[in-house]
Symmetry: C2
Subunit: 350 residues, 2 copies
DNA sequence: TTGAAAGCGATACCAC
DNA sequence: GTGGTATCGCTTTCAA
């Protein structure tokens, strides 16, 4: 319950608060000694006293005075999604190593909440923002860049020169999924997607279409766009599968986890089996993909890379030395395959 | 980039900083009016000016002066686990409504990291801590209570009078799983657990055993304890299932998600099917449970209740008016069943 | 190398 | 209802 301040340490060590401040903020030089304009002996004494008294810096005071906070905010659209949770975990670990504290928050897909959260974060003097924007979050984000807080977008894009970006090459992921199925000897490949015009989905669709066309299978392109709401979607997929049996479809690409779940449901309803009736390439991660060996091929986002790159990018933006081109990072997705006969699932490129 | 302070607002509105401070901190009364000792007209003017100027409170300054931060820290042992992620989401939402900012962090099951994180949080002046402790985290937590920060434990227990607790009634969840299987007409029920002595598992085991004994099935109790590492565990479950077929086992209780995953794997390896060869009651949540209709019965922790209760408890601890008994909350788990014929999965009590 | 002193922006206390 | 002002703990000149 006691509060040990910098003055207590200074008094006890018989030096000024300035010295204590210097010592407490000194970083280790390469030679393992503190690099600050303080006599090493004095420094050692200060350190000893600080430790003995149990001194801890009051971040609020430091932040108030310096205007810096050594903290970042990460705002995702849904922290309960495994994808975002994993990103948060990685970001936290990376930032922590660099002495940053990370504040996480979730906008729950609400633009109002995003705006509020950003207000809060601004009030916290965060030095930077990493945001997976929800739909309609443009205005809220302008607020952040408006007050000069460097901001990196992940997962979803929003126009604006100020933003840094770490995004997935969704087009390529669509191509990759399709090409993999070619390699398996399939040509009658279809994709099930949503009607809503999210850019990530549109790009995946384009990748599929382009790959089909390149392979001379333009006439086999079948892109189903179903309703987003769960009940319609469920029924829609069942309907598609029923028809697909008649026309001899060999494989489906399911460009989101939810679409994959609806598809598994449809298989059950229709009494179909996976390698026998259709082949799937799914997206994201699910226990179900790993249920059988070999695992169901699925395209995943390179989570740790997203975390690393977005933190590195943000740091450079905070420092201020970065060109416009460097502010956009496009990462390739990975296709997870394998796992039969004791071989662990692995990645592949197509 | 401009910085609008409370003084700017005061000057522009022609009032003192004190008034502005009052207005900015006023809460809405039930009558929809601000409850503060300020003339409503003045207050309205201040509000208008603040908005026009784009004023935002500097939390660092407020926190420094008041010693309060209106922020909480939530430290889980693994933020990438869906269970914790969901808890974080809920906590964030609840705390947000009460004007608290929540800082999340993940100790990654490392006591050292937990200690560091707690230091950081203390430096942040957080008013309270909600922690899912990792193994060996006792000392780190003492640090928090040592400096007088109210702390609520969730998920795992650690001895100590100072802590608040919101825990699951694991014994009851074991009983519930077993009784449900009785209702299905099964008597030859077994449980697969780990050798490691985690209290939550031990309690679930005890619940199972007690329920069996109460039902006069003491001789049918079969509690398998396998190794924790993935390879041994996988093999262990396969072995158990193979033998179980011979002795006519009807059902298994799988008291963690991982154990359930190993079990599904074993079914695949042995070519077994779920309603035909065995019945399962699983724990936690997985896409696989929802794959078939009716869903595979599974016991879940009441996530939103854990979040609500732990926040409420923490608040009372912060205010300081709470008795020792009220500091421990034990919640009942829920059994999720159903979903056949268009009926959505639901809860049940046994 | 060291120290004195001026704030950072908000709140809390006291006076009016 | 309203206003003046002394802090909170730290960083940061600037001088010594």
């Amino acid at each position: 319950m006691k509060k040990v301040t910098i003055r207590d340490v200074a008094r006890e060590a018989g030096v000024s608060v300035t010295l204590v401040s210097f010592v407490m903020n000194a970083k280790m030089g390469k030679d393992g000694r503190l690099d600050c304009p303080v006599n090493p002996n004095t420094a050692a004494r200060v350190l000893e006293v600080a430790k003995r008294l149990g001194y801890r810096r009051n971040n609020a005071a430091a932040s108030l005075r310096s205007g810096k906070s050594r903290s970042l905010a990460v705002i995702v659209s849904d922290i309960a999604s495994p994808f975002f949770a994993e990103i948060c975990r990685n970001l936290e670990a990376i930032a922590y190593k660099d002495g940053y504290t990370v504040i996480f928050a979730s906008s729950e897909e609400s633009p109002e909440k995003l705006a509020n959260l950003i207000e809060t974060m601004v009030g916290y003097n965060v030095e930077g923002l990493i945001v997976a924007p929800c739909l309609g979050g443009e205005k809220a984000l302008e607020r952040a860049t408006g007050v000069g807080i460097p901001t990196v977008l992940i997962d979803r894009d929003i126009p604006g020169d100020e933003f840094g970006r770490v995004l997935l090459d969704n087009y390529d992921s669509g191509v990759m999924a399709t090409k993999y199925l070619f390699h398996q000897g399939f040509g009658k490949i279809e994709m099930i997607s949503y009607k809503l015009g999210v850019t990530s989905l549109i790009d995946r669709e384009a990748g599929y279409s382009a790959a089909m066309e390149d392979a001379g299978l333009k006439d086999e392109i079948r892109l189903h766009r179903i309703e987003y709401d769960a009940d319609s979607a469920k029924k829609g997929v069942i309907e598609i599968f029923r028809d697909a049996l008649k026309r001899g479809t060999e494989a489906f690409i399911l460009p989101t986890k939810k679409l994959a779940m609806y598809s598994f449901n449809a298989l059950n309803v229709l009494g179909l089996n996976l390698p026998k009736d259709f082949s799937f390439v799914c997206f994201d991660e699910s226990d179900i993909y790993d249920l059988k060996k070999p695992v169901i091929p699925h395209v995943v986002q390179p989570v740790s890379e997203i975390a690393e790159r977005s933190f590195a990018l943000l740091q450079r933006m905070i420092e201020g030395n970065i060109t416009a081109e460097e502010k956009t990072v496009i990462l390739k997705a990975r296709l997870i395959l394998g796992g039969r006969f004791g071989v662990r699932p692995t990645q592949a490129s197509f």
